[in-house]
Symmetry: C2
């Protein structure tokens, strides 16, 4: 006799589009639940993450109603989790407990029973989890069999649960089967049956455990047709029924209540195997993926694989500085809520926590084969919620400016943070005094929510496929490269730095716009890698950079001042001295902004130049202009206008930052913001000077 545990996890990230949820509902969540409800003897353990759960309650009450009936009849056990599906390992301990309890209370309210188990987001294990989970009232948790194998256990020992522990707090841990993850629903039902039969008598604990994403049953390309249209799911359920007494369908809790633990276990910092590949630095990730595939062909390949480990989830913070920035911004808000909870009202704290928790939704912080970090609307949701939380807490009626110095992003160098009620500016003196973030907190807006065009290990595949270099007709459907549009290879431009604002450049006068777009241009001196000195003022700061350009010593002084509501100015004063060359020459001094509006390059967004009001330019266009004195960016959907005025007429290069990344439906291109380079010439001669002032204003429209 074997047990079969069937566990489904349905999830939608905070900030996802309504039409995406509707689509997933009609293609997966609804047909799945309706179908399985017709097989009352088949037990289901179900997890629904908070953003989706709220949506279902509001938009699909009949679904919740059916689910509640199935819970009442004991067909379904509801799993808990962190409410908005955070990676628990990287959020503060108090938030871990808070998010889990929020979900437990909601489940209790909806279904009349508190969850005993927890769905661990992305199965990212951390050795300290047993304590946090115990503190939050969780009895058991599900990870992958891979976690256990990485601790030296064998597959045949993984048909039940083990006890794990931290600081004396224990938790029951179930291993979900990787083999079943690949069989359900992608293989014919007979393959599942063969696998179940092969386990009989060979599995300690006697439970075949399947736990995976519900989107694989309907949302993944082609699966709706296969799973429901062609009847895979129905015959799967019928087959389970037909096993009769030899395959007992149980929930996790039913299993626990009748079976003892199989032992004690300590798990490493790991997730499922694929995550190990994704979290490595791009070049190494590629190497790892290729090596893993090669090892499968080795004589002792299976053994070697059981000891193979890629990166860990936290690596995403060193891989993507933008993910790190969001994470540290989140930690800052979490800390502020902790401090405010002594003085603020319970209601305010509860609301602020809700927004903080929403901002902890994991998807925006990483990237594997789905969009994740590369989806601007997910990042937008993170910043919006963080700023809403912070705005709820902050009391600064006189709109005083505060400036502080701290290593905000944990890179070993201090940032300068300037805060007023309606604008926050984050500067990195170490990175050429660049402006890393411009936030309009009351509008819930981070205007610098841009991501650089980073190299990804999988880009090579795209290049090879599109250039036909390694076209191999024997490749199976899984290996074939699918793209959402033609010619994506032309968008493979790579940056080596984070895209910030007030980034200074010395460029040759004949530098080409195209090279600048492709980041293949030459910097006469790399100002973004030059440390600037900073001096804090009551209303801003002064940054000073020094070095040599074209044989001349230079000094750049940029004075940043908060000038009013949601506005600041940056006054540049550039002077040359100690010129070694006798011949005078000229170069361009440029100041770069990278900006992002919530509606991206959609139809609600456009740009106006100088006094040409009514002449709308698209934010996704590339163009060169002369004698620019003002640009105005509009997002008419969210009602935001951003104006940048210059003190003198300058040249302007503008172009969209576009990334090419993997999604479940293949390679896709995403607009990530617009880059603006304002520039003007400076003569390289003794006592040469240049003054330039930017006035930056954010308004509600």
């Amino acid at each position: 006799m074997l047990n079969f545990i069937f566990c489904i996890h349905n999830h939608q990230p905070v900030g996802n589009f309504d039409h995406v949820l509707e689509d997933a509902y009609s293609r997966a969540y609804e047909p799945f639940l309706k179908k399985i409800s017709k097989f009352p003897s088949i037990k289901l353990t179900l997890h629904t993450s908070g953003f989706l759960l709220d949506w279902l309650c509001e938009k699909q009450p009949a679904y919740i109603d059916l689910l509640a009936k199935m819970v009442d009849s004991k067909q379904v056990e509801i799993l808990g989790g962190g409410f908005y599906e955070p990676v628990l390992a990287v959020i503060p301990e108090a938030d871990r407990v808070g998010q889990i309890q929020m979900m437990s209370e909601r489940v209790d309210e909806l279904f009349g029973v508190r969850p005993r188990g927890l769905w661990l987001a992305e199965r990212v294990w951390d050795p300290t989890l047993p304590k946090s989970l115990k503190d939050a009232g969780v009895e058991y948790v599900i990870v992958d069999d891979y976690h256990f194998i990485r601790s030296g256990l064998k597959k045949e020992e993984l048909g039940g649960y083990y006890i794990s522990e931290d600081q004396g707090s224990t938790i029951k841990v179930f291993p979900g089967s990787e083999r079943l993850r690949y069989l359900i629903p992608f293989a014919p039902v007979d393959a599942f049956v063969d696998h179940i039969n092969s386990l009989e008598g060979n599995l300690k604990g006697r439970a075949a455990i399947f736990a995976d994403d519900g989107e694989k049953l309907g949302v993944w390309p082609g699966t709706d047709k296969w799973v429901y249209g062609e009847g895979w799911f129905e015959s799967f359920l019928e087959k389970i029924e037909s096993f009769g007494d030899t395959l007992k369908s149980v929930t996790f809790s039913e299993y626990i209540d009748s079976e003892e633990p199989l032992g004690r276990v300590y798990l490493p910092t790991t997730s499922y195997m694929e995550m190990g590949e994704w979290s490595l630095p791009a070049h190494v990730s590629k190497e790892y993926g290729e090596l893993r595939d090669a090892i499968k062909g080795f004589e002792e390949g299976e053994k070697v694989l059981s000891f193979l480990q890629g990166g860990t989830w936290r690596n995403f913070f060193s891989k993507y500085p933008e993910a790190n920035w969001m994470h540290k911004r989140m930690l800052k808000v979490s800390k502020e809520i902790g401090e405010a909870s002594k003085s603020s009202s319970k209601y305010i704290i509860k609301e602020a926590k809700k927004h903080l928790y929403m901002a902890q939704s994991n998807d925006a912080y990483w990237h594997g084969v789905f969009g994740g970090l590369y989806l601007p609307h997910l990042r937008t949701a993170v910043f919006e919620n963080l700023l809403k939380a912070e705005t709820l807490l902050e009391k600064n009626p006189l709109n005083l400016v505060s400036t502080s110095l701290e290593d905000f992003d944990c890179d070993g160098f201090d940032e300068v943070i300037i805060k007023a009620n309606d604008i926050n500016l984050f500067f990195s003196p170490r990175m050429g005094g660049a402006l890393m973030a411009i936030e309009a907190p009351v509008m819930g807006l981070n205007l610098t929510n841009v991501i650089s065009r980073w190299f990804e290990g999988y880009h090579m595949k795209l290049k090879e496929a599109e250039t036909g270099l390694t076209e191999d007709t024997t490749k199976s459907i899984h290996d074939r490269v699918v793209t959402k549009e033609e010619g994506l290879v032309n968008y493979l431009n790579f940056d080596s730095q984070r895209r910030a604002s007030l980034v200074d450049h010395f460029l040759r006068q004949d530098e080409s716009f195209d090279s600048f777009i492709r980041s293949t241009h030459g910097e006469l001196t790399n100002l973004q890698e030059t440390p600037y000195e900073q001096k804090l003022n009551p209303n801003g700061l002064t940054l000073k950079g020094q070095g040599r350009v074209m044989g001349s010593a230079f000094e750049i002084v940029k004075d940043v001042t908060i000038t009013g509501e949601a506005s600041f100015s940056a006054s540049y004063s550039l002077s040359l001295a100690d010129v070694s060359s006798l011949e005078s020459s000229v170069c361009n001094f440029g100041v770069e902004f990278n900006l992002m509006l919530p509606c991206c390059d959609g139809p609600a967004c456009y740009l106006e130049l100088n006094t040409e009001v009514g002449v709308k330019y698209g934010l996704g266009e590339r163009a060169e202009h002369e004698n620019v004195k003002k640009i105005m960016l509009y997002d008419t959907f969210t009602g935001v206008k951003v104006t940048i005025k210059t003190s003198v007429g300058v040249g302007l290069w503008r172009f969209p930052i576009e990334t090419v990344s993997l999604s479940e439906a293949g390679f896709e291109r995403n607009y990530q913001g617009t880059s603006f380079l304002f520039f003007l010439p400076i003569e390289i001669r003794p006592s040469s000077k240049l003054d330039l002032r930017f006035d930056f204003v954010i308004e509600k429209i």
Copy 2:
């Protein structure tokens, strides 16, 4: 120009013998420091763990004096650490901070400067360390390059420090070079020179970082002759001097003060590569070791190795139940101190913490190629300190008995803990109601400090070598099997259970003593795997086990009662019923004790039987006796006497538990306690009964 960072870690475990410290001092610590003091331009970063530091202060003040001078002259930087060298990852957060601060204060007191850096015991990394270290005032920490490689970094990126982070707390992390660990001091100095030359221009950060155990320079077999006698160390130091400006000798802090971090990094739960092998379950450990060696020969072997990961340090708690038991006992005492700190005096708490910290010294909790867990005196020191700490806290003037039920050892089943002022008993109802620990807290004594004879991956090598099966004359010195005595293969007996007391057995009457010693005998029914019911009484508990033996139903009731100071009784009542066989037969019912005295089987320990006072038997002997009514165990060195009286004359088998394990000087045999099986026959017939009572008394002599 390269930097060279030379870091030495000197360590002795709490509880180690004085003569071992003296030997290490004269062979390594003293000649090392004296020699390097003659080369004032060569900077040293030195760590000395607390037990050794205290010993040096007391026994070798001249060493401390010389060291202080070298600190004053800036030749030496002193590293901090957890005072008694705990594995920080597995001790409570408060103790992490407490141990580190204790060391920082001591270093400040001795050398007038607080340490900025920390030596991480066994380089066991945990993702939560940055926060604990920051809280304890630590600025930097040293791990292996392996940690960084496991995060996807390349060796050539590891010539400096990175920033790591947890919950916003940052710490600087240096990677120590594995290559240098193998070169120093084992290769000729020229090989070191070649390596340094090969790094020039190829190393981000430009620091060659060596950090390793000082015992490798003098204590490891043969190294004293090589390092000092044959002048390796002197020529090593001369060579460094001779590099002049091309190799700048610096301490970690000097490096930090002049160089920027190389980036941000997140490290997985890992240690040095070898630890990954040791911490895996024995069979898997063997597999892993063999595979790793095979991979070295692969075409892309180096690449595969960079992704290979064995077990993590916490695995030792699932590998060795005795290590787990010590760890959970330690956590319990730590928790008790935390609770008592509100009500007890500062002095008491400080003393209790000191003993707790001593008990956290890592060596006794694990096993690699040194004795560690297999060294009884290290385990004795753990229990002695834990009991001293607990005794300091406990106030129970009426010597009342308390009984409680908790999953003490975190295996998913409750234990029963009976506590009085002068005796603590720990029972496991799930494991046949066995008595897992007998503690005499006032004497600082755990009489059940026994370890089972577990199979180790390396045992096969011993077997192959001694039986000559794979004798290979081409093997290098490193592969050759070295044993401290002949015939160790005969001691390779393996247990499948933890060795406890009040362990019940049904044995055939013709079962052989030899099979029982070897654990190859047959249990008529496995009582240690039978769950017993427990009922707590005010003065003890009743345990009840049921099952079938030789066709008959049986019920075993054991009544355990605290009978006075440091004494208890166990009354057995065994009854049979429902006998299916018509022919009457007989089997033996046996009760096993496994006991350990602090002096082990040394000359201070002996045994007396019945009334034969003055007839001394050795605890390391094996023997059979008839009609035994009393045994008395003496440890005349620590002044302890243990008496076990039986209510009727019984048979007795006694034999030493001896393990065979690796030490730095080869395979060795260790006495781990004595097993006593008291038995008497029972007839298998309806209404057959057997009553047997044990009186167990611990006394000071």
